[in-house]
Each structure stands twice: as structure tokens, then as C-alpha cells.
């Protein structure tokens, strides 16, 4: 098991190198000269040239990339062109906000989706099933930013229950962005829970349990649910990873200071060190959460666990 985790962590290294090369090349082909992000456009030739030299902007692509990677190995991600702040520090300051938002969103999604999904599966092809499947179809098909705008309109502007943006009010300002992300997730997970549950309750061991006199309710909650949980946990973990990297729209709609919004703003300003650093860090976090999902998956499914144990 530990061997497996270690192997997966080692496999992460080429992915990180690849991502950094990808991001570095994308930012390199971008139009406009990054030097003007550092000095004003009216600066004299000498100042511009000196800045280019100082930031190493005159060097060829591969030299700049190699220098960046060497610094990265030394633990430095550089400083922002715009704010002159340390990239790693800026990212880490905003990361807790995004983590809070993502965790709350996933919790909301789980609370809503598991009962709904199970109920839909047990009462397959009834109104309860059709209704929850139709509702989740609507929310799956809704753009996140539009849902955010509607929630903002209803609960912030009309009812005034929650602030319409920022994060000054603690938990209160977290609720609307978290629901914006969480409702979409819940819709997706309701569909997963339902299909996973449907598959499980048709298994022979459930029929056996019922034949041996286990009540319907007991069979579903004690025998079927545990096994149906495996794909649900996988989807949940994958979604958490997705949300950590992709809550940018909810963050933008509610002006919530998270890492997604930081990346979008940095791309707009062509703040190359910030974009590169933030995307690499986000990729690492997403990959680690995915790895953690795989490990949890092995722990809750003894069949898979024994496979790793043998390796």
C-alpha cells in the first residue's frame, strides 16, 4: 500500500514538469511585451532595457524555463510582476478561502445528493425518481455563474439574508458561493448515487439477504449502501479536486478572494510568474486530492485493498 502511494507521488513529478512547461509556453506565445507590466509604457529605452536584463526577459525560452525550474527546486516561485509579492506566499494566503469554499460545497452536495439518489433508486420509475432526475438534469445543465447570479439576486439583493460579495462576514459570505458550487455538484452526485444504488440492489447478495429475512430497509442501508458508496466516494473526491481548481466562476460572481480569481486576474494582467506558480500549485493540489481519493477508495473497498497488499 505504501509502495503504491509512493509510486503515485513519484509519478506526479513528470506531470508537474509537464504542466510547468505547458503553462510557460502558453504564456510565452501570448501577445504583448511583459516588460510593460513591470515598468510604465512611457519609461525610457534604458530603463526598459535594464529591466529586461534584470528580469532575464532577453534570454531564450529554454534558458528562462530552466532557470525557473532550478529556482522552483530551491523552493522559490519568484515574485509577482505587478504586486512584487512572493508568488507562493500570495497563493497560500488565498488558498484557505478556496479550501473552505470547496469543502462546504462538497458537504452540501453530499447532504443533498445521497438521500435523493437513494430515494430515487429505491422508487425507480415513480414520480419521486423522475422528479429528482429531472431536477438534477436542470442543475447539471446550468452554467455555474448563472446559478450564482440567480442566488445572489434572490438571497442577497431581494431578501438581504446574505452579503452579495467579498468575504468580510465570515461564514455568512461563504454560504452563497458554496451553494453556487454545491448545487451543481449535488445534481451530478445524485445521478451517480442513483445509478450506483440501482446496480447494487440488483446484486444476488441483496436478494439472498432479503430471502434470509432481512427487512427491505435493512438490506438497503446495511447491505447495499456500503457497496454503492464506492463509486460515490470516487466521484465525490474527483469533484472536490475539480472544485479546488475550478471554482473561479463562483469566486468571480461573488468577488470572493480565492485562488481561482487570483489566477484569472493574473492572466488578465499577464503576470507570468504569478500565473505559472499558481497553476503549478493548483495542479499539485488537484493531483494530491485525486490520489487521496484513490487511497480512500482502496480503504473502503477491501477487495481493492487486498490487491494493493499483494503488490
Amino acid at each position: 500500500m505504501y509502495k503504491y502511494i509512493l509510486k503515485r507521488l513519484v509519478l506526479l513529478i513528470p506531470v508537474i514538469i509537464g504542466v510547468s512547461l505547458l503553462v510557460f509556453s502558453i504564456m510565452d506565445i501570448a501577445e504583448g511585451d511583459p516588460v510593460y507590466q513591470i515598468v510604465s509604457e512611457t519609461a525610457s529605452e534604458e530603463v526598459i532595457e535594464a529591466t529586461r536584463e534584470a528580469y532575464g526577459l532577453n534570454d531564450p525560452f529554454l534558458v528562462r524555463y530552466a532557470r525557473y525550474m532550478i529556482n522552483l527546486c530551491k523552493g522559490s516561485m519568484g515574485t509577482s510582476y505587478i504586486t512584487k509579492q512572493d508568488v507562493f506566499k500570495t497563493y497560500m494566503e488565498l488558498l484557505p478561502n478556496t479550501v473552505k469554499l470547496s469543502l462546504l460545497a462538497v458537504v452540501i452536495a453530499i447532504i443533498v445528493s445521497i438521500p435523493l439518489g437513494i430515494n430515487a433508486a429505491i422508487h425507480q420509475n415513480t414520480w419521486a425518481d423522475t422528479g429528482s432526475m429531472f431536477t438534477s438534469l436542470l442543475f447539471v445543465s446550468m452554467p455555474q455563474f448563472w446559478l450564482g447570479l440567480l442566488l445572489m439576486l434572490a438571497f442577497a439583493l431581494k431578501l438581504g439574508w446574505f452579503p452579495s460579495g467579498g468575504n468580510e462576514d465570515g461564514l455568512k459570505s461563504l454560504i452563497l458561493p458554496a451553494f453556487t458550487v454545491g448545487i451543481g455538484l449535488a445534481a451530478l452526485m445524485t445521478r451517480t448515487t442513483r445509478s450506483s444504488m440501482l446496480e447494487t440492489i440488483r446484486q444476488d447478495y441483496i436478494t439472498t439477504a432479503k430471502a434470509k429475512g432481512v427487512s427491505n430497509k435493512n438490506a438497503i442501508y446495511h447491505h447495499a449502501f456500503k457497496n454503492a458508496l464506492i463509486p460515490i466516494v470516487t466521484v465525490g473526491g474527483m469533484q472536490l479536486a475539480q472544485v479546488l481548481g475550478g471554482s473561479v466562476l463562483a469566486e468571480t460572481v461573488f468577488s470572493y478572494p480565492g485562488v481561482g480569481r487570483l489566477i484569472v486576474q493574473s492572466i488578465e494582467r499577464r503576470d507570468i510568474p504569478m500565473v505559472t506558480g499558481a497553476l503549478i500549485l493548483t495542479t499539485i493540489i488537484v493531483s494530491v486530492v485525486n490520489l487521496a481519493t484513490d487511497i480512500v477508495y482502496a480503504f473502503i473497498d477491501p477487495r481493492i485493498k487486498s490487491q494493493y497488499a499483494r503488490k
Binding site: L22, V23, I26, A30, S141, L153, L157, V264, L279, V286
Partner: protein, 298 residues
Amino acid sequence: MKQKTHAAEHTEEHAQSRSMMQEVWRRFKKNKGAVVGLCIFLVICVLAISAGFVYDYDTQVVGGDVTQRLQSPSWEHPFGTDEMGRDILIRVIYGARYSLSVGVVAVAIALVIGVSLGALAGYVGGITENIIMRITDIFIAVPNILLAIAIVSAMGQSTLNLMIAVGICSSASFVQISRAAVLTVRNNEYVEAARAIGSNSFHTVFSHILPNSLAPIIVQATLRVGASIISASSLSFLGIGVPLPAPEWGAMLSGGRAYIRDYSYMTLFPGLAIMLTVVSLNLVGDALRDAIDPKLKK
């Protein structure tokens, strides 16, 4: 009695003679949601294509009356007018052209890149497969929306670049699906037979392997058009998608955001349009998946 058995045999024979596509269509038609979805989608397509015959965008929207700005929905303007007096209904209908074309072209780009690389990886195997799959891993590791934003901002803001960016971001999933699909049919006897009679690799992949691994690719493509429409409108909402003043749905929502408190209808209709389009595509995609692989439906 004998006659009856004969009839049963006959229908069975008939069922076998039906092609796979006919069989899929027969199952697809039985799904009410799918038929509704297909109808909605066709209506949206017809509206998008015929918009130019019914409305004249230049005179009715661009040359709109500024004194008619911010009118609530009425008989004259069923969806109301925006801050520049432009009719929102006409803009939403014209917007379908952008969203549909971006969605379809992006998926076409993703299909070309993804299927060719995936088929290559699955068929050739070895180092080629390893390299392709590791590059795919990199594209999967970066969150899609952030990658798309980075690509558009690097290439410059235009509708074509938006299509390319969304297409590149979707291609990784097609690489995985087509590789898996090719792997499942690669070792079938008919492929071996084709090779034995001297068919070259290119011909084997395109005439024998791909047509038999199309089903999962088609399902994914249908669902991906919807997802691409959402991605594209999200980018437009962030101000880096279809350039203004084009009536793209995401861009209209972004414009309406400033007036959300008093003129909320501006943020209602373009969003409904996106949702309706994506719902119809999801209904069709889900039904196609069930029709192609009935095991999942039961």
C-alpha cells in the same frame, strides 16, 4: 402452432438483419425524454438558422432606439430591452448561432485531435502510447477552465480562438475514450483477418477498428457539445470569450450583471437559453448512451 413458431423465427431473423444503427434508433425513439430533447434542440437550431429571415439584426438591434432602453418585458419586447435599447429576444435568438457553432466546432476540434491520438495510442502501443497518455495526463491535471482561459488570453480574444481553446481542453477525454475503445476491439478476429489479407495499419484503424469503437465516442461527443457551450459562455462571462458586442449568451449575462438589482430580467433570459440548449443535448446524449448500451439502462 407450427405457423406461430415460424412467425417468431421470422421476426427474430428480421431483428438480426436490422443494422445496429436502426436498433439504436428504435430504442432511442422509445425514450420520451430523448424525443423531447431532440425536438427542443432542433427548434433551437431552426431558430438560429432562420433568425436572419425573421429579424434584421442591423436595424432592429444595432440601430435600436436608445430611448427604449431598459424596458421590462412587454408585447413589443417579450424579453425586454437592455441598457442600450437592444431587444433581448432578438439578441438571445442570434446568440444561439454563437453558442451552437462554438459548441459544435470545439467538439469537432476535440474529436479530430482526441480520436486520432487515442486511436494511435491504442493501436500502436509501446512508447508512442506512453508518450501520448502522459501528455494527456498533463492536460487532465490542469483544471479545464483555467487552461482554456490561459490559451485564449495567449492567442488573443476571438471566436475562433475560443473554439480552439475549448476544443483543446476537451480533447484529453476523447484521447482516453478512443484509446480504450480501440483497445477493446484491437484483438478481435476480424481485425486480425484484415491484417492477414494485407490491410495496412492506416486502413485497419480507419476502416475496421474505429467504426466498431464509435459508440462511446458518439455519446461523449453529444454530451461534450453541451459542456463546451457552458465553458464557452463562462469564458465570455469572464470577458475573454466571443468579443463584444456580439450577442453571446455568456457575454449578455455579464452585461446584465451591472443591472441585476433593478432589471433582473436581463440576467434571466440568456441564462434560460443556455440551460434549455444544454438540457436538450444532455437528454439526447443520455438516451443515446442507454440506446447504444442497453445494459446500463435496466
